[in-house]
Amino acid sequence: MRRLLIGLVLLATVCAVAGAALLAWQRNLSDATPESTAPVSLERGAYLAAVGNCAGCHTARGGERLAGGRAIPTPFGTVFSPNLTPDASGLAGWTADDFWRALHLGQSRDGRLLVPAHPITNTTLVTREDADALHGWLQAQPPVAAPRRTHELRWPYDNQLAIAAWRALYFKPGIYQPDPARDAAWNRGAYLSQGLAHCSACHAGRDALGGDRGASDFRGGLLVGLGWLAPSLHDPAEAGVQRWPDAMLQQWLRDGHAQGHTAQGPMAEVVLGSTAALNSADLAAVSTYLRALPENAVARPEGARPDPRRRERGAGLYREHCAACHGERGEGRRDASGANAYPALAGSRIVTQASAANLIRVIERGGFAPATPGHPQPYGMPPFAGMLGADDLAALASHLRESFGHRAGEIDTVEVLRLRAAAAAH
C-alpha cells in the first residue's frame, strides 16, 4: 500500500515536471528575426489583411470590424476571437515585436499561448516584412472598445498545458522557405495559400486532436459546427482544380462563380473576404499553385445498398422540386443573357463527392453564390428544409448520385442523420 502511494506520488511529480517543462519550452521559443527596415506601407498592410481575411474571424456578426467577439465552433468547444483594433481591450500598445511573436510563435503579449483555432501553423510562414505591414495597418485602425470573451473550451482543452502539448505535436515555427525547384509564381502562390490565406485551416484533413499534416495538406474534412465539408483539393473528383483551365480558376477565385461552378457556404465567405481581393499577379500565383497540387484520390466509402424504390421516390421529388431550375436531365439553365443561372447537376462535383454532406446541406438550406463585382446578382436556391424530411433527402440525394451518368453511390436515411449529427456543434 505504501509502495503504491509512493509510486503514485512519484508519477504525479514526473507528470508535473514534464508538463511544466513542456509549457516552459513552448512559452520560451525564441526568435531573433529583426523588425524589417522597409517603411511600413498601410496600403500593403490593408491588402495583406484582406488576403488573410483577418476580419472574417475577428469581426462578430453585425459587430465593429476587427473588434473580435465572433464565436468560432470547434470540436473542442467554442472560441471567441479577440479584438485586433488598437484599443486597451485589443492591441493598444502592441509593438511590431509583440505582433510578430503572435503571428510567428503563436504567443500573446502576456506570454500565453494562442489557441490553435488561430491558424498558427499558417501565420508562422508569414515574412517579418508582411507581419510588420499588417501590424502597422492594424494600429492605424480606429480603436473599438470590445472586451474579450473567455473561450468556452471543454476540459482538458481549456488550459495552456493542452495547447503546449498540441504545439509540441503539430507546430513548428518558421517562415515560408521557397522551393528552388519551382518558379517564382508557384512559390508566391504557395506562400500565400499556405500562409496568410490559411487554406489549410479548413481544407486540411484533421486528426482527432485537430492536428494537420502541415500547411500544404489539403485532404479536406468535415467542418464541425459549421455543417459543411471542406472537400479535398488533392482529388479532381472532389474539389481539386488540377484539370481546370487557369483562367477559369482565376475567375472562380475572384468572382465566386465560373462556368456553373459556384463557391458555397464558408467558401463563399472566403471569396468575399479574401480571394476576391487578390491582385492580378497574386491571383495568377495562387491559381498556379493550386492547379499544381499533387493528386490523391480520397477514399470513397461504400454507398448504401442500392434501392430502386428509394431512387424512384427521389426521381419524383426531383421532377417536383428541382427540374424547373436544374433541368429535367440535370443540364442546368442559362438566362436570356447566356449566363449560367442554375448550375448543371449532371457532372456536378457537389453531387458526386465521396461525402454527401454538402449536397444534403445545399438541398436543405439553399444558397446563393457570393455577390461579387464580377457576378453581382447571383441566382439563388430556396431552402427545402421545411419541405423534405430525412427520408426525402436520402431519396433525392440517391437519385442525383445515380443519375445523369453518375455512379457515386446511394445514401440512406441513417447516413443523412449521421451527417447532420456530425456537422452539428458538439
Binding site: A60, C325, E328, A341, A369, A371, P378, Y379, F384
Partner: protein, 237 residues
C-alpha cells in the same frame, strides 16, 4: 395479396415513364434575366410572389416599403433578427443586391388576403382601437397610426403596414420584440412599445389589425403626417 399485386402493377406502370425522353424545348428553355426570377429563392418560403405562406409564419413581402424590407435583410444578416435559414441564405449578398431584391418585392402591387374575423367581444376591440388610433399618453405609448400611417398601410420609406398580416404573425413579432429575439437598429422603438403593452392588449390589437380589410388605397403613405413621437433607428432606410 391484392395490395401486393396492386403495388407491383403500380411500380411496373411507373417504370417506363421514367425512361421517356424529355422534350428538347423544355430542356433548352432559358430563364428570364430578371429580379423576379432571382427572387424565387425567397418565394419558396414567403409564398408565390412574396404574398406570404399560408402558415402565417413567413410574412408577406409584396408591397412593403423598400426601406423596411432592406432594413430587415440587414437585421437578419447582422444578427439583430435571428433565423438561421434566412441569415445564411443572404449572408453572401452585397448591400446593393439586397437593396435591389427589397425594391423588387416593394414594387409588387398584389391583392391582399381577406381579413381574419376577430373573436373578442366588441368592448375589448374598441379599447384596442383607441390604443391603435390614440395610444396611451400616461404610459408613453404612441398611437400605431402616428408612424404606420392613418390608414395603417405603412409609411415610406421604412415603416411597414400593419394590415393584411395574419394574427399569428403579428403576435409572433410583438412577442419576439418583448423577448429580444427580434431587434431593430437602435434606438429600438418597437421593442420599448412591445414591452410596455400587456399580453391582453397585444392580443386585442392583433385581433383588431388582422380583422381589418385593406382600405381602397392599400399603398404605404408617402410621408409621416407629423414628426414621429418616438425615436426609431429603423425609420431611416
Amino acid at each position: 395479396m391484392r395490395a401486393w399485386l396492386l403495388a407491383l402493377a403500380l411500380t411496373a406502370a411507373q417504370a417506363p415513364a421514367q425512361a421517356q425522353p424529355v422534350p428538347d424545348t423544355l430542356a433548352q428553355r432559358e430563364v428570364p434575366n430578371t429580379l423576379a426570377q432571382r427572387a424565387l429563392a425567397c418565394t419558396g418560403c414567403h409564398g408565390k410572389e412574396g404574398r406570404a405562406a399560408p402558415d402565417g409564419y413567413y410574412p408577406r413581402l409584396a408591397g412593403k416599403p423598400a426601406g423596411y424590407l432592406y432594413n430587415q435583410l440587414l437585421n437578419f444578416r447582422d444578427g439583430r433578427r435571428d433565423y438561421g435559414l434566412m441569415s445564411e441564405l443572404i449572408a453572401p449578398l452585397s448591400d446593393a443586391y439586397l437593396q435591389e431584391l427589397a425594391g423588387h418585392f416593394a414594387s409588387l402591387d398584389l391583392p391582399y388576403p381577406p381579413p381574419q374575423k376577430p373573436t373578442l367581444p366588441a368592448a375589448e376591440l374598441a379599447r384596442a382601437e383607441r390604443l391603435v388610433r390614440h395610444g396611451d399618453t400616461a404610459r408613453r405609448l404612441p398611437a400605431c397610426t402616428a408612424c404606420h400611417g392613418e390608414r395603417l398601410t405603412g409609411t415610406q420609406p421604412a415603416v411597414p403596414g400593419l394590415l393584411g398580416l395574419s394574427r399569428d404573425y403579428l403576435n409572433g413579432q410583438l412577442g419576439a420584440w418583448r423577448s429580444g429575439q427580434r431587434r431593430a437598429q437602435a434606438p429600438d422603438c418597437m421593442a420599448q412599445i412591445a414591452k410596455a403593452l400587456t399580453e391582453t392588449e397585444i392580443n386585442a390589437v392583433t385581433q383588431l389589425l388582422a380583422g381589418q380589410a385593406l382600405p381602397a388605397d392599400p399603398h404605404p403613405a408617402t410621408a409621416l403626417p407629423a414628426p414621429p413621437p418616438v425615436r426609431c433607428g429603423g425609420m431611416k432606410p
